[in-house]
Amino acid sequence: MPSADEVKSRIEAGIPGATAEVQTPDEVHFDVTVRASAFEGLTRVKQHRLVMDIFSGELGGAIHALALKTEVPT
């Protein structure tokens, strides 16, 4: 089971320039907010895919649920 820190560092490593805030009550459900200039000009679906692709294969497994919010830095 990944820790909040592990999820955070994987996102920040996977998307250059991203900052992530991760909260998890149980290391299975994750509440994640990612801010990245890489999201600029992308639809929300594409922004979410950039993040979810980092965990492909784990979603629904080790990571049971990932509630995701994406933001472009202002």
């Binding site: 929300r44 679906v45 979603l59 509630a67 995701l68």
Partner: protein
């Protein structure tokens, strides 16, 4: 029905309906909280939408997710494009983007058409669930 036939029907439904929601249950009787919330937001915007229940056959969800490359249900499409699932729809609803994206009357959208001028009914419509 083969998996390919199911996928073709899904693709056709997405193509033929300007706004279409794949959900668990029906708009009148949603079978999941995320689907219920998404339906409520669309109804709040008074935007007509077609709805498909994915529950009758597990292959509907399997083929839909393969087609859309999106793992969760519900999934909202507009003009053939995936808008998102419950999280994205909620965020867009809250900041006013959803009405704009769906061409529904939005309080802050300058280009939005006034309510009730189109030929389409304001109430949500359902398409026949041919995928069951």
């Amino acid at each position: 029905m083969s998996d390919t036939e199911i996928r073709d029907l899904i693709a056709k439904a997405i193509d033929e309906n300007e706004t279409i929601l794949f959900m668990k249950g029906s708009p009148d009787s949603p079978a999941c909280g995320f689907s219920a919330r998404t339906v409520a937001m669309l109804q709040q915007l008074e935007t007509p939408f077609a709805a498909v229940d994915i529950l009758p056959d597990p292959r509907i969800r399997q083929e839909l997710s393969a087609l859309s490359n999106w793992p969760t249900i519900p999934q909202l499409f507009h003009k053939g494009e995936l808008i998102g699932g419950c999280d994205i729809v909620t965020e867009m609803y809250e900041n006013g983007e959803l009405g704009e994206a769906l061409g529904a009357p939005a309080p802050s959208g300058p280009a939005a058409a006034p309510a009730g001028t189109g030929p389409e009914p304001a109430a949500p419509m359902s398409i026949e669930n041919r995928l069951g």
